[in-house]
Symmetry: C2
Subunit: 523 residues, 2 copies
Amino acid sequence: MSNKTAVGKAAATKRGTGRTAEAKLADLRVRLAEISDLNGAGALLTWDQATYMPPGGSAVRARQGATLSRLAHEKFTDPEIGRLLDSLTVYADGLPKDSDDAALIRVARRDYDKAAKVPAAFVARMTEVGSASYDAWTRARPANDFATMRPYLEQMLDLSRQYAGYLGPYRHIADPLIDGPDEGMTVASVRALFSELRAALVPMVRAIAAQPVADDSCLRRAFPEDRQLALGLQAIRRFGYDFARGRLDKTHHPFCTKFGPGDVRITTRVKENDFGEALFSTLHETGHALYEQGVDPRYGGTPLDSGASSGVHESQSRLWENVVGRSRAFWEYFYPIARKAFPEQLGKVPLEAFYRAINKVERSLIRTDADEVTYNLHVMLRFDIELDLLEGRLEVKHLPEVWRARFATDFDLTPPDDRDGCLQDVHWYAGTVGGAFQGYTIGNILSAQFYAAALKAHPEIADEIAAGAFGTLHGWLNKRLYRYGRKYSPADVVKRATGKPMTLQPYLTYLRGKYGELYKLPV
Amino acid sequence: MSNKTAVGKAAATKRGTGRTAEAKLADLRVRLAEISDLNGAGALLTWDQATYMPPGGSAVRARQGATLSRLAHEKFTDPEIGRLLDSLTVYADGLPKDSDDAALIRVARRDYDKAAKVPAAFVARMTEVGSASYDAWTRARPANDFATMRPYLEQMLDLSRQYAGYLGPYRHIADPLIDGPDEGMTVASVRALFSELRAALVPMVRAIAAQPVADDSCLRRAFPEDRQLALGLQAIRRFGYDFARGRLDKTHHPFCTKFGPGDVRITTRVKENDFGEALFSTLHETGHALYEQGVDPRYGGTPLDSGASSGVHESQSRLWENVVGRSRAFWEYFYPIARKAFPEQLGKVPLEAFYRAINKVERSLIRTDADEVTYNLHVMLRFDIELDLLEGRLEVKHLPEVWRARFATDFDLTPPDDRDGCLQDVHWYAGTVGGAFQGYTIGNILSAQFYAAALKAHPEIADEIAAGAFGTLHGWLNKRLYRYGRKYSPADVVKRATGKPMTLQPYLTYLRGKYGELYKLPV
């Protein structure tokens, strides 16, 4: 073969349709990395805003964030990405079933198809209205001012419907909103799951409510802020959170964020008169962070570099916060340490009293403060109401009264105001109405399923936790779940890790076992 | 006029050449704001890297920064920006002389013409080599390893020459490299200025060197870190640094950065055994920050939202660090506060002894540690050497010996190694060879010129400083300099503020007055 021909062939390969699938995949990866960079920088803008940004920075920060999201959306919906994905789909079908490349093409295809359906102008409008609405909500909630939020919520509801419309066709209008964060779930499947769970929870909550309320006054003493933070750091270092690839800072609303495989940060908030606030929110965000830190670093710069779904992600925050962090085993190890940090506050409180305090069950107003047993009733209430709003069976103007009525039915309590009623969660006011809440309960359910599977594989885990060793549990989760990122669908990853599709049984067993010991429960 | 015609006209105006100048200017502003957002986000990436980023974040961070710079360069060199500027130049000529819009068009034109001359691939290469070279330098300097840096420096020199070539034509190859940061200056004008200054400095340094060295041992005691930081905060709050639009954090190499008009941050570093390190670097960066915080907020999102030049910027850091921060008047006010913070360390040190210690003049190895008098000799040495490198009269391989020889001539000292010799500054290894050093001495010269002008307008400033009041000085600087940002050229803004072009006289008067009182100087 002459030199000239070789050069000619190389040039042809470079130019267009003659490119190999490998070259196209490489091109796709470069494009995805650029988008990942924009998103990573955007995530840093948000982290900084929530931690260190001086107040004067907010106006420009909002614009910077909007610019980066818009550019990322523009780059991602570039028709050339569609063409690359089109021609790579056949290639992916020929790859081994377990291939990372095939998974990348599948996940990028899924994201692209969704993003490309939504016009850029709509995305910008949604961001803009959401941002203004969020801003109004930060003032309206403390002022108990639903009237101000009503037109915003009407807009957000309208936009959520339009958004679902773009993503359609659908069986139920909330289906596309749920399928975004929780791939594979639908209104029908969530309803079935929730109704089964509800049937078990309602008598459990009723039985507990009939008994004396646990005394948690030992958690309401004055716990100096710096020692609270230090205690949280001690716990999560033992859990296996890697500080060379992360850090903990203070914020108003705790969250976990990822800038890349080597930088997964968490935030927490501290209340001096509340032992649990900082610690449990730190453990919660650490669960998210362990998941993100565990994703195969080779997935960096691609859409695989993240958790499988909202529900699977939440399962890890709840596993480390509740299944581990509120277990008797954990506190056998950690209570002496906590007492050493707070000798005056906890020195005379026996472990058993402390354990009962941190696991107190009580019907209360606020979802984020709720205990493990009642928490899911908060979620179900929101899920049912958002479906009614989306279906048009409930008008926004009637939301406060409907909330109060439903709350009274489910909790035997009437919220004294909207601040601690229908204004309490930011989700509807800043994001979509629909799709944001089911993940919390799916997470609770899966937390027990993953833990039970880990325990079955390594029965020594319970004893290890009581000895302050978390490596076996963390290692199992890394190997069976974390490292895969978004490689497998949520349903697949659950099945691969636990051997079964999502099932309620381990969660009910967990709740009945733990709370049956703490309270008398109906059999 | 029929409706149809009006619609037709509006449509034509929207489309193309029919657009009004105002519409084109609005279009330009939108584009510039997008670029400003990318640059602002890039600056946050850098700030975070230098303050809070965990070590694991560095690989992805470098890529994110490169992506944002590349996108900003692509957006800015979009030929449509060139076309907008072309058609707006005539419009600008018709605007009032003092118009902000005309200034915006002029400055954007200047930046665009420079940026458009440089191919994107070259920018990427320069960033890539600079980044690798910087990385190597961070290890080679402590290891005193010039051999490793030699090929990098040869590359950087070569790239600097190419860069100058793109920006040409020029009279001297360093002219375009100087004109970038210090608009209007050339090798010839800097040489003239430096030679005049040198003629005054050399005998001054010689006379001081012949006298006993001042005792600064009182600054070398153990000063606890948190109290050092708190003292710096006290000082800069009085200066007028606005913490609602900024913050101070710790870093390795202090800097000031701006994310937008409402967010101008500074960083400092602390050495326990060095009273001056944290304090004076805080005051220095605060000078930069006061300038940036003072720029008219309406310039936000445009290239006007920054200081006029490297030299003018440096004049403000030096004014607040030295002219104010090392003055006797300032310490009359601040020494009792410093003593209260460090009673054991400074309680027995009289003000006069302390004042002499912080103004100790000594020929020493390191530019960044140098006193006010010898500092400029460090700059001149670098300036002359970089010209020799660019002109090809000096080969990189001979740099260490040439540095040592020149150092011996100028300082009567021979650096014991390259670490504290030709490896000490990062500039050549990470940026361009040429253009980075002259700004420091221009800044020193202008610091005295601005201060003298302020004092002439408000003779009470000296007494106010001694009483801890900085509002008159800060207000005058805001009104005469800061608020204009890049609206006027460096030469214009100096003339407008001080009534004169840049002149050496106030600086020489300042040095002779201050150091003539501290030391015996030749008349």
